[in-house]
């Protein structure tokens, strides 16, 4: 029964989303953002959307996080809120 897996991954997704927004350090946000994308990719793989999961893994978790970290290195890690 794959029903519980779906629920567990969904709770992780929402947890990562809220954490990525409320964390005070931008590099922390970058890592949580990567984790959020990876959890979404897991969720879609469970839901049978294999191509979308592959794209999200390579594009969302992979390259977006690299751009994020690169931009944070070019600017600043400091956030006020």
């Amino acid at each position: 029964m794959h029903w519980p897996i779906d629920l567990i991954v969904l709770t992780f997704v929402i947890f990562c989303a809220i954490a990525a927004i409320s964390v005070k350090d931008l590099l922390g946000t970058a890592i949580l953002f990567g984790a959020y994308s990876f959890m979404m990719c897991l969720l879609w793989a469970v839901m049978g959307a294999v191509d979308v999961a592959f794209t999200e893994a390579s594009v969302g978790a992979g390259v977006s996080t690299v751009f994020f970290v690169a931009a944070v290195f070019s600017t600043s890690r400091r956030t006020k809120d």
Partner: protein, 138 residues
């Protein structure tokens, strides 16, 4: 009680997509740091992709790749039951949406770097203060 559980089982996926979208929308509007707003934007877009993918899902159906036609022998490939395979159309649409969201994310990151080069900060209120100073100088 049981119909409530059935209702939840039937619809929880859509409620969660709405919650995710609202997290993204809230972050985009209320957060002060520009890059935090960008994270909110990306969460907002991935929530819509989750909604599309959950439209196409069929219970106990396999992924939309037809194995039987591998050899190309058309006789065997004739009998394909649509109910066995997941609906491929939302997946196609979402491949486009993911690529569009990454492209927008890359351009927005480039803009954030340009703004930091000019104002040495990414906080919305600090930028507005420096804008006012520039306004007085001109």
């Amino acid at each position: 009680m049981t119909d409530l559980l059935a209702l939840i089982v039937a619809k929880y996926n859509y409620w969660l997509y709405v919650i995710l979208m609202m997290i993204g929308l809230y972050a985009m509007i209320a957060k002060n740091n520009l890059i935090k707003k960008l994270v909110g934007m990306n969460i907002f877009q991935t929530a819509i992709i989750l909604f599309y993918v959950s439209i196409g899902y069929k219970r106990d159906a396999t992924i939309p790749i037809i194995q039987s036609a591998h050899g190309g022998n058309d006789a065997l490939a004739a009998i394909i039951h649509a109910a066995d395979y997941i609906n491929p159309l939302p997946h196609v649409l979402m491949l486009t949406a993911i690529v569009v969201s990454v492209a927008t994310f890359g351009v927005a990151m480039a803009l954030a770097v340009r703004i930091y080069q000019r104002y040495q900060t990414l906080e919305e209120d600090e930028i507005r203060m420096r804008l006012v100073d520039i306004g007085q100088e001109k």
